[in-house]
């Protein structure tokens, strides 16, 4: 039990020092000292609650994805059957009840229609299921229903695109080291450290930036519009800024417009006539051609520029715009114009994202937490070490040395495996230090007891270590169970606490049991004491 061959001692010291040395870069950095750049530089990451920053949980609406798929399917069905040879006439098309349903004018064309529509659907998932179910009712009605597998695939694709768009937008803000991770089916976690103004970030991410150009339906009756009734084939849209443009909505044609997703650039600028902030957009080749066609065919008619379902402006098309560039005006400030430009450059989000959880900590509060946490840790440790010295004398010295090495080892391991230190993590640290002495207390008390029973020094020490072992082991296992569950319930800061606790349990058993035993054994061999002060 008290036998430590040289190789074992060397090995234990090696582990201890390797872990403890890894803590030095982090300590140097907190103390503001330079760390030689030639040496490896593992450092502990500070959590957002210490470094300051924002944690946002964004959620996409699957209902919206469902709705969009129905709408685009409706449009595809119309186009495909109209372009078919011979043309297939349809009527009574609707997207109610979660499926696209329509009648064929000529029931004899049912097979031709079915053949055309087959090409609009595709496989989804591993099971060979398709993304739409095609049914024929009463011989002349076709119903296309989206399958669950198809919806799931669509949501996954939308989320992949959304994550990319979010990344581009955050990069455009020029923040350092953002973390963007998809979570579950319909969520994205965004973590941005050291942000001055999270409101700007949230506004940027909250903007879908779906830009559309649609023709204004001038036949609409203003009185009916006010009641929310649109002419056939048209829909009602409201102005983004009712205070300036009036609360009266306008009607736009549902079909035949173009989307503003085929852009090669977007820049904020100023209108040369009235110096108002505007956004200048440049279409890519395909988009430019579509835009040229739309404006050429509709000269002298008004068209609406719609952003995320709200009208920015509805100017008249005075002449065909064939250069592939356009200017978007609206009630912008320089800031919102710039934001829209960033959003348009990074592309539209395929689905709206909502902030369902936010945790933001300002840099001042974070710095205050670090400072107070370190003071509490320092004072707590010093008082605790004094207490140990007064209670256990020589054995207290071993306990304190183990404690210091334990602290360094926890820091070192955290730095090497790249865990994040959070505020509850600091609390976990302090608590670990308090609990780490428990193993030594158990051992020392047991040695005391065995001495009181009249055992010789060496025997008492040996028994102290061997008999305390099962209690130390069981006690630490229960703590591991608690820490694991904390890790699993998972919100960021609590996770940080659990990680520190787990590392602390491992290192404290190592330092408090193994290392102190080695030191005590060495002392017993050298000094051969016949009396213990304990």
């Amino acid at each position: 039990m008290l036998d430590f061959p040289r190789w074992k001692q060397a090995w234990l010291w090696f582990i201890t020092l390797a872990c403890a040395l890894a803590a030095l870069p982090s300590i140097f950095s907190v103390a503001g000292l330079p760390w030689p750049s030639a040496l490896p530089n593992p450092k502990i990451n500070l959590g957002l609650d210490l470094a300051g920053g924002s944690h946002l949980l964004l959620e996409a609406s699957t209902d919206q994805v469902r709705r969009q798929r129905l709408d685009s399917m409706e449009e595809e069905v119309r186009n495909r059957l109209r372009q078919a040879e011979p043309q297939i006439q349809i009527g009574d098309i609707s997207t109610r009840d979660g499926s696209v349903s329509f009648m064929l004018q000529d029931p004899a064309q049912i097979d031709a229609a079915r053949e055309q529509l087959q090409t609009l659907t595709q496989g989804a998932g591993m099971t060979g299921q398709r993304d739409w179910d095609l049914q024929v009712l009463d011989g002349n009605r076709i119903v296309l229903t989206p399958t669950e597998a198809g919806l799931k695939l669509a949501v996954t694709q939308a989320m992949e695109t959304a994550t990319e768009v979010v990344r581009k937008r955050i990069d455009a803000l020029g923040t350092r080291e953002p973390t963007i991770i998809r979570q579950g089916d319909d969520r994205i976690v965004v973590q941005v450290p050291g942000l001055k103004d999270p409101a700007a970030l949230k506004d940027l991410l909250g903007q879908t930036a779906k830009l559309e150009f649609k023709l204004v339906d001038t036949t609409a009756n203003p009185a009916e519009l006010a009641q929310g009734i649109a002419p056939p084939g048209a829909e009602i849209v409201y102005y983004a800024d009712p205070a300036k443009d009036g609360a009266q909505p306008i009607a736009v044609r549902r079909l035949g417009g173009i989307k503003g997703d085929q852009l090669s650039n977007a820049q904020a600028g100023n209108n040369q006539q009235n110096n108002q902030p505007v956004v200048n957009i440049t279409f890519d080749q395909q988009g430019g051609a579509k835009f040229a066609k739309l404006t050429t065919e509709n000269v002298n008619r008004p068209f609406a520029i719609i952003l995320d379902g709200k009208v920015l402006s509805a100017p008249n098309i005075n002449e065909p715009i064939i250069g592939g560039t356009a200017q978007i005006s609206g009630s912008f400030t320089a800031e919102t114009a710039n934001q829209l430009a960033i959003a348009l450059r990074s592309g539209a989000l395929p689905v709206d994202l909502k902030v369902v959880e936010e945790r933001t900590v300002g840099p001042d509060l974070g710095a205050d937490s670090i400072e107070k946490g370190m003071i509490a840790f320092g004072v707590g440790t010093l008082v605790l070490m004094a207490f140990m010295l007064f209670t256990y004398g020589r054995f207290g010295v071993y306990t304190c040395t183990a404690l210091i090495l334990n602290t360094l080892m926890i820091l070192g391991i955290m730095a090497v495996i790249g865990t994040t230190l959070t505020l509850p993590g600091i609390a976990g640290f302090v608590l670990t230090i308090g609990a780490a002495v428990d193993a030594n207390v158990l051992i020392n008390e047991r040695i005391r007891e065995e001495r009181a029973r009249g055992r010789k020094v060496v025997q008492a020490v040996e028994f102290g270590y061997s008999e305390a072992r099962s209690a130390i082991f069981d006690g630490n296992i229960t703590n591991v169970i608690a820490a694991t569950l904390m890790f699993l319930i998972g919100s960021g800061p609590v996770k940080g606490f659990a990680v520190v606790l787990m590392i602390g349990i491992a290192t404290s058993v190592f330092t408090a049991v193994t290392l102190t035993r080695m030191w005590v054994a060495g002392w017993l061999r050298r000094a051969r004491p016949t009396e213990l002060v304990l």
């Binding site: 369902v356 107070k372 207490f387 600091i426 229960t478 608690a482 569950l485 699993l488």
Partner: protein, 325 residues
């Protein structure tokens, strides 16, 4: 050098003599706690009910204009805000739960915090925003569910572990002691109306681990003594075990309390509730491992034959020593 001894050697306090009255008191306290939680309820933080909480420091004022803020934020139409000071008098938190029926609206919590922040910034130019927490109804529901699951799972998993390592009576004793600790802590939170959030769940999990650690030390000694003194009546044996481990119990509790007090008095204000919960738990946990988890073994009729009388390392050494000498 004369060493410090918090507990004299060879104490022989008959703790278990008072087991009945203490059990009655503890059970009454548990009933009171449950009643308090049921009637007064926990002051659930935004983590668990949804809503927003912001932290603001008024850098140019000695004191935050609490009454004025209460009125201004109240006028925004979300309801009455809860405004509390934390740390210095010019540092406050403004908490606002989701209004009735707002659980379904995924972006309401975010909208609330945006609006409140904008309102305060426009009216108080010296307000510095130190933190924002906003949690929607759906997310808060998930957090509450996983939090409770983790608590219950921890209690059950730990009890099963004890049952495997010891005997079923010990497992039940541990589970009972844990229930006692958790109930009393919840009762304390219902009484003081301190905010109960995700961090507090972590604190409760920590104290579960700590209290169990304490219980295990006592149980470990009981097991050892059950093997050693096979004819000793159980109450006496339990008393002996508690007394033998008393010094360790006091020294360890003091050690943990030293570090916790440092954290409580000098540490960051943001985790005050968290530290307070663990500190309270240390007292409750220490008490419960002596008065709750040990005596229950008498009623569950633990006896020495529960353990196969194996010869431990110590026994062997002792026997050899006897044979030699």
């Amino acid at each position: 050098m004369k060493l410090l001894k918090l507990v004299p050697d060879n104490t022989n306090i008959r703790f278990l003599r008072w087991r009945l009255p203490f059990y009655v008191i503890s059970l009454l306290l548990m009933v009171a706690s449950i009643t308090l939680v049921a009637t007064r309820g926990l002051n659930l933080g935004v983590d668990f009910v949804g809503g927003q909480m912001i932290r603001v420091t008024f850098v140019n004022s000695a004191e935050a204009p609490v009454a004025q803020l209460r009125e201004e934020v109240g006028r925004l139409g979300y309801g009455e805000p809860t405004i509390q000071q934390f740390g210095k008098p010019n540092e406050i938190s403004i908490r606002m739960h989701l209004p009735e029926g707002g659980e379904k609206d995924a972006s309401l919590a975010d909208a609330m915090s945006k609006r409140i922040v904008a309102d305060i910034k426009s009216k108080h130019p010296d307000a510095r925003l130190d933190g924002v927490d906003s949690v929607s109804g759906k997310v808060s529901g998930e957090l509450f569910k996983t939090g409770m699951q983790a608590l219950i799972a921890a209690m059950v998993a730990i009890s099963i572990y004890i049952w495997i390592r010891f005997e079923w009576q010990f497992g039940i004793g541990a589970l009972f002691a844990l229930t006692h600790d958790v109930t009393l802590t919840l009762g304390m939170f219902a009484l003081t109306q301190l905010e109960f959030d995700l961090n507090i769940v972590a604190a409760v999990l920590t104290l579960i681990g700590y209290s169990l650690n304490d219980t295990i030390v006592v149980y470990d000694r009981i097991r050892e003594n059950l093997r050693k003194y096979r004819r000793m009546p159980l109450p006496e044996l339990l008393d002996l075990s508690v007394n033998e481990t008393l010094s360790r119990t006091i020294v360890t509790s003091s050690s943990v309390l030293i570090t916790l007090l440092a954290l409580l008095l000098l540490g960051p204000n943001v985790i005050f509730g968290f530290t307070a919960a663990i500190t309270l738990g240390i007292f409750v946990g220490t008490y419960s491992s002596i008065y709750m988890s040990a005596p229950i073994l008498i009623w569950l009729k633990v006896n020495p034959s529960s353990f196969v009388p194996t010869e431990s390392a110590v026994d062997k050494q002792e026997r050899l020593a006897r044979e030699r000498g």
